[in-house]
């Protein structure tokens, strides 16, 4: 009797200990299995059976091209299964002296600068062809040879001014319509909000397409397509989560999100212009700058739309303009200093996600402020605003296409 009760008393303590040990075992078991698999892979090397003596697959991506008075420099990134060795470099079908920095084989995913003391011709095309030790060739075309802008305080300042001109100024101009837009009725409000959604829809398509294009140019190791999808989804979901902290955003909060989304897009746009500078392809005529400005004025109108029922302080407008337009300046600088297609693709993808978030929120705001719910989305004024937004952006985008 005594014994039985002792056992009964001991049980409650033994139970959880055994349970946790079992859980620990179930944690160890799969880890041990993995360990065994690795040991087997290393010891047996089953992959050797797939080896057929063929040379390893090689890929090489050109990320940057710098033309200066002492020749051409290209930044290349290696891909493929093994480190690859650059044996010779042709320029315009001629073997040319070159220096590689750092020298030696280029590891998977690593980069190297190739310096060619080549007497390139201003305004003409040149072709660089890199020959590896296996005889594989990788060609890069310089469509129009012009000296790459040298970076100094003056050039950075003038680039910054250009950024202000194409990013900040038009947004500010758009916001100056604010007083005129106040006092619009329900239909006017619907129209303006739908206009915002329309312009954002254009930016979404534009940013996504460009992100995929740049992703295609980047080294395979970055898996551009997946990167664009994931970055866009991440920024969309994170911004949704942040934006919904205190319920659906409206008023200033919504305006801020619109400004942020547009700002991220302008960052990508700035990167593109900066990269054009870096590539020496900057035929940025005044019509192009004017095009960007007209294009971006709509963005200012869109940002002020949710604020029409409030009366925010002037500094808030300034801050919003800075948030939406300022990134263009930063993008220009980054783009001209450290351009690589995968980073531009990433920035544009993040921008696309942000824009999608704003579109969702503005549409939700439209439904709420209108009072008719989802009916308002299909009202003639809404459709008219949507169409006008897309059409205006499409039309002005024609001005900026090179």
């Amino acid at each position: 009797m005594n014994e039985v009760s002792r056992i009964a008393a001991a049980e409650p303590t033994a139970g959880p200990a055994r349970k946790s040990r079992a859980a620990f075992l179930w944690l160890i078991l799969p880890m041990a299995a993995l360990g065994l698999a690795i040991v087997w892979l290393v010891a047996v090397n089953p992959l050797s059976r797939f080896g057929n003596g063929a040379p390893p697959v090689e890929t090489l991506t050109f990320e940057r091209t710098i033309l200066s008075d002492d020749g051409i420099r290209v930044l290349v990134r290696a891909g493929g299964s093994e480190p690859m060795t650059i044996a010779q470099v042709q320029v315009d079908d001629a073997y040319w002296q070159f220096a590689q920095d750092p020298p030696g084989p280029i590891g998977r995913g690593s980069t190297a600068w190739i310096h060619l003391p080549f007497p390139w011709v201003l305004g003409e095309a040149h072709a660089i062809n890199i020959v590896t030790n296996t005889g594989a060739t990788f060609e890069h075309e310089i469509a129009v040879a012009v000296p790459t802008t040298a970076h100094n305080a003056t050039s950075l300042l003038s680039q910054g001014l250009l950024g202000v001109l194409v990013g900040l100024v038009p947004v500010a101009i758009g916001m100056m319509f604010y007083p005129a837009l106040r006092g619009v009725g329900r239909d006017g409000m619907d129209f303006l909000l739908a206009l915002t959604v329309g312009l954002l829809a254009f930016l979404l398509v534009d940013a996504t397409a460009e992100a995929f294009e740049l992703a295609g140019e980047s080294a395979a190791i970055f898996q551009g397509q997946a990167m664009v999808w994931l970055a866009a989804a991440a920024s969309f979901l994170l911004l949704m989560a942040v934006g919904r902290r205190q319920g659906a955003p409206s008023g200033l909060a919504l305006a801020t999100f619109i400004a942020l989304g547009i700002g991220l897009h302008n960052l990508g746009e700035g990167l593109a212009i900066g990269a054009a500078f870096a590539a020496g392809a900057a035929g940025l005529g005044s019509f192009l700058v004017l095009g960007f400005m007209a294009h971006n004025i709509t963005e200012g109108i869109g940002i002020s739309a949710p604020l029409l029922k409030k009366r925010p302080a002037l500094w808030i407008f300034a801050a919003l303009a800075l948030l939406a337009g300022g990134p263009a300046v930063v993008g220009l600088w980054i783009g001209s200093l450290a351009y690589a297609p995968q980073w531009s693709a990433l920035a544009l993808a993040v921008g696309a996600g942000a824009i999608l978030q704003v579109m969702v929120e503005v549409a939700a705001y439209l439904m709420r402020s209108d009072g008719r719910g989802s009916t308002a989305l299909l009202a003639p004024t809404t459709i008219a605003g949507l169409t006008t937004g897309v059409a205006f952006m499409y039309g002005t985008a024609m001005l900026v296409k090179i």
Binding site: D69, Q97, G135
Partner: protein, 377 residues
């Protein structure tokens, strides 16, 4: 939580999804951004130094930089480009019962990776492990016996430009043999001249372009050319008259390294720029004779241009008098060949260039220099 749509979205759900997606994109994007920024720093330092110079390209010495970088490992290749010029394979000589010379050559087909320009490896098919194959040299009227063993991975043959029986032609059904087999080609050496041999297995283009070719020179027998005995003797290897001459074997070839049916490397005797980096030494007072053959695939025509001099040309080498006199450029179609004769005796010593006048070939490796000197010390 607010509701906007048929389902409820929680903030936590969005955050979780967002973090997952962000993690994925970070993994995708994590290349060697550290390495890149290091290079960038280097580059920026360089660049700021350049900006002090003129904004437009000055270029200066850059025009002299058109050459391959580095050196070919000739020990690994197993043949030296300098020696390819003067190495003749005269076979083993014996007498037939009727007193005629029997000349026996032995060749092997071997798969071998060779370095055709510094750092560029080419998976070649070779005769005796070298490209071009040995320069076979016989005398007009010799009985020739060529023992060919195929140690390679593909069927191969030896097709000789010359006169022989159909059975000895080196085409499918007549001396084309499988890996591991052996065949003996037998015929008389005629006509005299500068010929070539190559593999005639199919696909023909691939077998030639892979490196299976070589010079096949038949020297004239002076006894058969009584009216031009002296000239014939000067051509005949081993005579004192011939020893006066500086003779070079040159096979113009090209290599398609990336299988796009265009050559990435052009050369004479295989290695790009070999005689540019190590000029061919010639003594000023002694005449020069070049046995030149064109085996370049993919480009129909090749050429030879000599700087600061003119030469006589013997088309196919089958005549003892020039077929072209005093020219500084000859063109040769695929498989065309001939003998060039010239002298620098009235020139000042120095470096004299030779190259094809297709600039493309010159710039992709086929060019060289003669280093004309008073006498070899």
């Amino acid at each position: 939580m607010t509701r906007w749509g048929p389902f409820e979205i929680t903030r936590r759900g969005l955050l979780w999804g967002g973090v997952t997606a962000a993690g994925g994109s970070v993994i995708c994007a994590s290349g060697s951004s550290i390495a890149q920024s290091e290079h960038l720093a280097d580059h920026m330092a360089d660049h700021s130094a350049h900006t002090a110079a003129s904004p437009l390209p000055g270029h200066g010495s850059a025009h002299g930089a058109m050459i391959t970088v580095g050196e070919v490992d000739e020990a690994r290749n197993g043949f030296e480009t300098a020696k390819l010029l003067t190495e003749w394979d005269t076979g083993t000589v014996s007498r037939l019962p009727d007193g005629r010379v029997l000349r026996t050559f032995e060749l092997e087909g071997i798969d071998k990776e060779i370095e055709i320009a510094p750092g560029i490896m080419f998976p070649a098919w070779t005769y005796n492990g070298r490209v071009p194959g040995p320069s076979l040299r016989a005398t007009e009227g010799d009985r020739l016996r060529i023992v060919f063993r195929n140690l390679g991975s593909h069927p191969h043959s030896m097709h000789f430009h010359g006169i022989h029986a159909a059975r000895m032609d080196g085409v499918p059904g007549a001396g084309l043999i499988d890996p591991g087999d052996e065949f003996v080609y037998e015929f008389d050496a005629r006509p005299f001249g500068c010929h070539l041999y190559h593999c005639h297995a199919l696909p023909l283009k691939r077998h030639i372009q892979k490196g299976m070719y070589g010079l096949f020179v038949i020297d004239p027998d002076p006894a058969r050319h009584p009216e031009l005995t002296d000239i014939a003797r000067s051509r005949l290897l081993g005579t004192p008259e011939n020893a006066e001459w500086q003779e070079f074997a040159m096979v113009m070839n090209g290599f398609d390294t990336n299988f796009d049916n265009e050559n990435e490397v052009y050369a004479v005797n295989t290695v790009a720029h070999a005689y540019m980096k190590r000029p061919i030494r010639i003594v000023r007072d002694r005449p020069v004779r070049i046995y030149l053959a064109n085996v370049v695939e993919f480009d129909p025509i090749n050429s030879f241009h000599l700087h600061a001099n003119f030469f006589n040309y013997f088309e196919q080498g089958t005549t003892l008098t020039p077929t072209l006199s005093t020219v500084d450029l000859i063109t040769q179609i695929q498989a065309q060949r001939g003998i060039l004769e010239f002298s620098f005796k009235d020139h000042e010593p120095g470096l004299y260039m030779f190259h094809p006048h297709q600039s493309e070939f010159t710039e992709l490796g086929w060019s060289g220099m003669f280093d004309v000197v008073e006498a070899i010390a």
